[in-house]
């Protein structure tokens, strides 16, 4: 049901507002694909859950026109079903129950009646099926030779506000189909993966006298204190090698950006403006982008680490209060309406530091907290629209947005 709801969101919000003529033409020429189910030892409900997950993932990789009919088949039949004979590709899958409650999924990909790719997948519990679905879509995308969708297999960590000053930190897949609340009780926000392996994360704890940056190792459940600051303490970004953090701290009530080396424990202040400097993101090894109100309103700036020169990066938008960078590209949140309390208030935009290129990425609601995937192929963000909090995914190369709504609570921040 969640996947269908998500797809409904896609059509109602994205295509209506962000689709271009170019993309419509592209959709007409995409190869077709159908999914055939060869499972006989699970109930219909579970079989349909997995089928829908596969259909949704095949849609998100954006390289097929996906047929939505669920059809049963014999896994070993060398030909595709007659009903699918006109499809360019057919994905056939079969689920097998393991002795220990685990799940094995066999799959093969047909190009007409020829098997062109096959693979088996295992998970220890059947409720992790959605990660198999993501892995199958990833592998098919790789087989087709398209831009990597490695972000599909990554986990999302997010904080969810459940009551005033009460939050949960949750680990999920990118569609929110799988959710595991790893930290609950108290007020813990701004989670940030500590390593590319996603086996630990930093977060801000606001339960004590001073905001404190903590580190949680998922492998053993151990929590340790990293550093504390009066007023404000956020880990805004982690370097690709995991050794340097960009922190927003507020010693003496003054929010500024600091670098912190997790090996040497060395802390270095990087911004010195008397107003607000927050939200640093690595642009590359020696430069960052960040948000500052040094022009009287929040906007995006960049600077080389260790120097004092600051460069304005964005010249559009009345209030640009969040950003993320990936190489030459910067995505930022902008308030566009002249009425600060209108319903259409905050949208995401993409710019390139090499050109004057500006691209509007969203059209409705409050869109915030953009984060690039590691390979820059996609952007994840938070969308709040009509009391509904969702995770959004933007496929930059395909000009498509996908939304995955949260069942309860409100998304505060996320990372992937």
């Amino acid at each position: 049901m969640k996947f269908f709801l998500s797809l409904l969101f896609i059509y109602s919000f994205t295509f209506a507002s962000d689709a271009t003529i170019e993309v419509v033409k592209q959709a007409e020429t995409l190869p077709s694909i159908a999914v055939e189910d060869a499972t006989y030892n699970y109930g219909d409900t579970f079989k349909m859950q997995v089928f829908k997950a596969l259909v949704a993932d095949l849609n998100v990789i954006s390289i097929f026109n996906v047929d939505r009919h669920h059809r049963m088949v014999d896994y070993d039949d060398g030909r595709v079903l007659v009903a699918n004979k006109d499809q360019d590709y057919v994905l056939r899958f079969k689920m097998l129950e393991e002795d220990n409650g685990g799940l094995m999924i066999q799959m093969k990909l047909f190009n007409h009646d020829t098997t062109v790719f096959s693979k088996n997948y295992k998970v220890n519990r059947k409720n992790l099926y959605v990660f198999v679905s993501h892995a199958i879509a990833y592998d098919i995308n790789e087989y087709m030779g398209k831009e990597s969708v490695a972000w599909m297999k990554r986990k999302v960590v997010f904080s969810r506000i459940v009551a005033p000053r009460k939050s949960e930190i949750v680990i999920a897949d990118y569609t929110l189909s799988y959710q595991h609340t790893i930290l609950s009780g108290g007020f813990n926000i701004f989670p940030k993966w500590a390593t590319n392996k996603q086996d630990s994360f930093y977060y801000t704890n606001l339960n004590g006298l001073k905001p404190t940056l903590k580190f949680l190792d998922i492998r053993n459940g151990k929590i340790s204190n990293i550093i504390a600051s009066d007023g404000m303490m956020v880990c805004s970004d982690v370097s690709s090698d995991g050794q340097r953090l960009l922190l927003t701290m507020a010693r003496d009530g003054q929010p500024d950006i600091y670098t912190y080396n997790v090996i040497s424990k060395k802390l270095r202040r990087q911004t010195f403006y008397k107003g607000i400097d927050v939200g640093g993101h690595f642009q590359n090894d020696d430069s960052i982008v960040f948000i500052s109100n040094r022009l009287g309103y929040p906007n995006v700036f960049s600077k080389k680490l260790g120097t004092k020169e600051v460069e304005q990066m964005v010249y559009y938008g009345k209030s640009n209060s969040a950003c993320s960078a990936n190489g030459q590209y910067i995505v930022y949140k902008a308030r566009e309406s002249s009425n600060v309390f209108s319903k259409n208030s905050f949208n995401l935009h993409l710019i390139s530091t090499q050109t004057d290129f500006i691209r509007r990425l969203t059209a409705t609601g409050i869109n915030e907290f953009p984060e690039f995937s590691k390979d820059g192929d996609a952007i994840i963000f938070i969308k709040n629209y009509k009391e509904q909090s969702s995770i959004g995914i933007i496929r930059l190369n395909y000009n498509k947005n996908y939304l995955f709504p949260l069942k309860y609570g409100r998304l505060q921040s996320l990372d992937w």
């Binding site: 930290l183 009780g185 926000i189 949680l216 404000m232 600060v340």
Partner: protein, 180 residues
């Protein structure tokens, strides 16, 4: 994939280990007179008297703290601003008088808050700058700066949940909290 499974296994451990609430605050001043009584009492009597007098002392302090907090009023701000409005100067003056009266006993924590327009760091920083503005105003009124700590809760601590401008205005505020 294994890490997912492992995270499930340690989930219950994390649930409890990670959700520690604020540590109980020990009121050292309340226990001081008790220690003097204990010195004069016999060992057996000490075991009885000590907790009773500690308990009475704690209750008295809790009452004073809540009474003082009740006299402190929140300071409200304009949208995207952290300067104190002229209309709030009277509240600053009365709040500083209350803080000065109790500052020998309590510290004061200024909690900056914002309306719902964004959960990003900028909104948290805005809440903090509001708290910082109030701190400077209190210090200007004679409050000891070392007695003041600050925190920002961004948009995560609303007192009003309606989608109206009046409601959002109530959430753009700095609250006072006294610390033993």
């Amino acid at each position: 994939m294994k890490s997912i499974v492992i995270s499930g296994v340690v989930a219950s451990l994390l649930f409890f280990s990670g959700c520690s609430e604020k540590a109980p605050v020990v009121d050292t001043k309340a226990s001081t007179p008790t220690q003097e009584v204990v010195k004069e009492a016999k060992p057996v009597a000490t075991e009885v008297v000590s907790p009773e007098s500690s308990s009475v002392g704690s209750n008295l302090n809790v009452m004073k703290l809540s009474e003082a907090e009740g006299k402190l009023t929140s300071i409200y701000f304009d949208f995207d601003k952290f300067a104190i409005k002229p209309a709030m100067q009277g509240k600053i003056a009365s709040d500083s008088e209350v803080v000065k009266m109790v500052s020998d006993t309590y510290g004061v924590k200024l909690e900056g808050n914002c309306d719902e327009w964004g959960s990003d760091e900028y909104n948290f920083a805005l809440g903090l700058k509001r708290a910082s503005s109030v701190k400077k105003a209190l210090v200007a009124e004679g409050v000891d700066a070392s007695k003041i700590s600050m925190v920002s809760y961004g948009e995560s601590n609303p007192v009003c949940h309606d989608k109206t401008q009046e409601c959002w205005a109530k959430n753009r505020r700095v609250d006072f909290s006294l610390l033993p």
